[in-house]
Amino acid sequence: MSKQQYVRGGQDLGRRLYFLSVAAAVLFAVILTRLWFLQFIEVDRLKEMSENNRLRFIPVAASRGALIDRNGKVIVNNTPSFSLAVIPNEVTDKDYLIDNVAKVLKLDKEELLAKWEKGKGRAKYIPIILASGLTRDQVEYFEENNLRLNGLEIEVKPVREYPNVSLASHLLGYIGEVSEKELTVPEFSNYNPGDYIGKSGIERSFESYLHGDDGGRQIEVDARGRYLRTLNETLPVPGQSLVLTIDIDLQKATEKALGDKAAAVVAMDVNSGEILSFASNPGFDPALFTGRMPPEIWKQYLEDKRRPLENKALKGMYPPGSTFKMITALAGLSEGLIDENTTVNCTGEHKLGNATFRCWNKKGHGRVNLKSALRESCDVYFYQLGERLGVDKIAEYAKKFGLGEPIGIGIDGEKSGVVPTAAWKEKKTGTKWFKGETLSVSIGQGYLTATPLQLAAMTAGLANDGKIYRPHVVKKILDRDGKTLREYAPELLKNSSLKPDHLRLVKEGMLAVVNEPRGTGAAARLYEVKVAGKTGTSQVVKQKDAKMALAYLHRDHALFVAFAPYDKPEIAIAVVVEHGEHGGGAAAPVAGQILRKYFELKGVIKRPVTDSDIDESDNESDGGGD
């Protein structure tokens, strides 16, 4: 760098500093001019506005998108709800007003005053909600007596209406006021305190579609709070409606079949992944979560041993029990360890070292091959096969059927279940894998767990030659004119290249479970359609004595998975009945009833039209027995 350059740079620097100062002065002058404009020219208008500053902002909530079933039947919609609000700085006689409101709404004065106090930290022109859910008569009363009750205001908000009460409540979810914690999340940065948002299920996961954009009117009112003019208006944009994959009639039949049992059912379309019914029993009433939950009902929900608030189909992790035997069998077939003629002599137990592993049938099944082992759910057959496969091979095939990882149904909180491997156990517990544990896994017990959703997907995979379409619950998103904005096409989740012959052998076993003598799943048999399935029992307590066996919470879970029709599968279903003890006795009849309904709705099975039509499904399809 030459000296000359530096000097030139220096001189220029001085000149540029001068220009920058001038530029700064110009910006100051702009500010000054604007101040002059506001404080000299606009002063009268703005002064008047400040003196009658009765600009009021009236939020107009957007109505939430509807939830519609696959056939266009509305499941959840909105209805207008009226709230009573008070604008503190316009109240002339507080005592009179509180007295009146308490009398008309039959509310406690103290409670009203407490609500009023709570809103006091905010600006005085912001309405404080005193009561929600007013009746038409109450609304009329306040509108007529508007003059004597200065400062009151009726707000109309669309709220959720649940004509089917608790139907599919876990899947649909509930809405509630946005919490302070949620307001700090970027997703909710455009929300205001008091807004309703989806809190669980579809309502939560599709919040951004369902919510819509709230609008509002900026109005000017006179000293008595009467409307003068609208200054600015933004119309609310209603939320988008969702067409679900659920069939509401099948859903109703599902929940009816479950009765008051603690249970979960997932039924899905094998060829698209569309969930046809999705139940976690018992359900809850979502409407109660929107307003003020009555404490006694909340207590009931919490104390119920059947856990009505938990989404068992999505978050319940159960050992799949014998419903997993198809996977062990496929692993054995694919690895060349067995074929259809391989036989095992079941004596009722299997020895490994010093340990004895028992078959559920203590007398033993005698000589069994793959088909009869599946049909009669022989444990010894699968102990021996599992021992030869090793846990890591079993895990490899379990993962091909979607176990051990979240399926991605698109609803928050999905559990992944556990597909154990030797490395997994070492990492988790620091201890080595024992061979005996492999035997447990091979019959679906031990560390192995899966959600009902995963079991349905697994069954769909078996039915569909190893192809699993990603289970999903939303078919289409509609705009407010009913036009389709987005459609969810079937998405292939797993495509395991298994030999068709191997799959056929396993499926034949499942067909035998339901349709052959000595099959454990006869209760799911339909005479019009061929059903293939598998029972399962999942241990809750390992060693039980007589006393424990009686206690409800120690009873085994009953499982059943099935698909139908056998020759051209359409529907796959997984049923878990908590503490139902035997898959064949407690879960298979449920699956049978749901499948019957499915084929009735399709017109494949003709329904006898009788007067007792409504009760009919209660005592049907009990044929077969266990």
Binding site: M1, Q5, Y6, R8, G9, G10, D12, L13, G14, R16, L17, Y18, L20, S21, A24, A25, L27, F28, V30, I31, L32, R34, L35, W36, L38, Q39, F40, E42, V43, R45, L46, K47, M49, S50, E51, N53, L55, F57, P59, N89, G121, A123, K124, Y125, L183, T184, V185, P186, F188, S189, N190, N192, D214, G216, Q218, N232, T234
Partner: protein, 366 residues
């Protein structure tokens, strides 16, 4: 350790100037927060404490020769970048943005000191690294990279106000250093397609909405638009002489948002009118002109550029804050230096004032 010359050269006039601004600010905070229900110390008293801490920082900043910053600048820069990255990974989230970093015993907000550190870094860069001539395309790429790293990290938090401020300060220094016209033109021409691509392909719908609401608050009359209207009513209804101390209806009835911090000036303009507003503007203008004089009179390039950067920082805060309050600029969360309530802003501003005094005092030593 403290130089005797410090006392003789200490710029008492400027000290008086900032004391007057702070005093007006404290009075105004007192009025603006009169309607608040508070537990503990009032905002006005707390602001006085912050000012005292600020004075200590001014003395501290003055007592060390600013030239040591020339060597340390890249260290400061590096450490702050690490902190900014840490904020993104493990920062504490409040009000939807992650700006704070827990350091065990205390929390810091590394985006704020970046305003000063980018000044020091740029001053040092253009003194020691870059050729001291007008910037061409090749010379401007490195400083832009130095700027974009912290600016993008801060924008990601998201703290748009601070990110814009850091860019404006850096931009002002670049203008002082001087850029070739051709380079300027090229930069503008490249920026257009980048913005176009970002807008159409990178930003999601809600992000676009936020940008649009930011640029034109009327789109969103529920929030920023409402505040803007109320602020304009407050300033305008003050008229020539104002409604009188503690008598502003807009502020006492709390129609203004954050009226003791970002909207402090609209409270003042309502209560003191055009006359009061001119006084505050004049005080700020004096401060800026003094800052530019410090820059012009300084004999070394580092000191000049440092003074330009610090002055630019104060200047842009003033212009953007007042511009926002009177409806000239979009609503960005930028405080009015020395006037709005807030410890962070006070500390940054006072360190800036200290640096300017430091440079001013040492100009005779060359």
């Amino acid at each position: 350790m403290i130089d005797r010359r410090l006392l003789t050269n200490f710029d008492w006039k400027i000290f008086l100037l900032i004391t007057v601004i702070v005093a007006l600010g404290v009075l105004n905070i007192h009025s603006a927060s009169a309607s608040y229900k508070l537990a503990g110390l009032s905002y006005s008293v707390k602001q006085i404490y912050w000012f005292m801490i600020g004075i200590m920082l001014v003395v501290l900043t003055c007592s060390v020769d600013y030239h040591i910053l020339e060597d340390l600048s890249f260290w400061f820069y590096g450490i702050l970048i690490v902190f900014l990255l840490l904020v993104l990974v493990v920062g504490k989230t409040t009000m939807g943005a992650t700006r704070w970093l827990h350091l065990g015993f205390f929390t810091i907000q590394p985006s704020e000191p970046m305003k000063i550190v980018i000044t020091v870094t740029f001053a040092s860069f253009f003194t020691r690294v870059a050729p001291q001539s007008l910037l061409g395309l090749k010379e401007i790429i490195r400083p832009l990279a130095i700027l974009m790293v912290p600016a993008l990290l801060i924008a990601k938090q998201p703290d748009l106000g601070t990110a814009i401020m850091v860019c404006l300060v850096a931009g002002s220094i670049i203008l002082a250093v001087g850029v070739r016209w051709s380079t300027m033109l090229t930069l503008i021409l490249t920026a257009i397609p980048i913005l176009f691509i970002a807008w159409n392909f990178l930003l999601r719908a809600y992000q676009k909405n936020r940008v649009l609401n930011f640029l034109s608050p009327e789109r969103d009359p529920l929030k920023s638009g409402y505040h803007l209207i109320q602020s304009k009513i407050a300033v305008g209804s003050g008229g020539i002489t104002g409604k009188g101390f503690m008598h502003g209806t807009q502020s006492q009835l709390r129609f203004l948002p954050e009226q003791h911090t970002d909207f402090a000036f609209s409270v003042f303009a309502e209560e003191w009118g055009f006359i009061g507003s001119i006084v505050v503007l004049a005080l700020y203008f004096a401060l800026i002109i003094w800052g530019m004089n410090v820059a012009a009179r300084c004999n070394d390039r580092f000191g000049t550029l440092l003074a330009v950067g610090v002055t630019a920082m104060l200047f842009w805060h003033i212009i953007i804050n007042i511009g926002m309050v009177i409806g000239l600029f979009p609503v960005v969360g930028v405080p009015l230096p020395l006037f709005s309530y807030g410890g962070t802003s006070m500390i940054t501003s006072m360190i800036g004032v200290g640096l300017l005094m430091n440079i001013n005092m040492r100009r005779f030593m060359f």
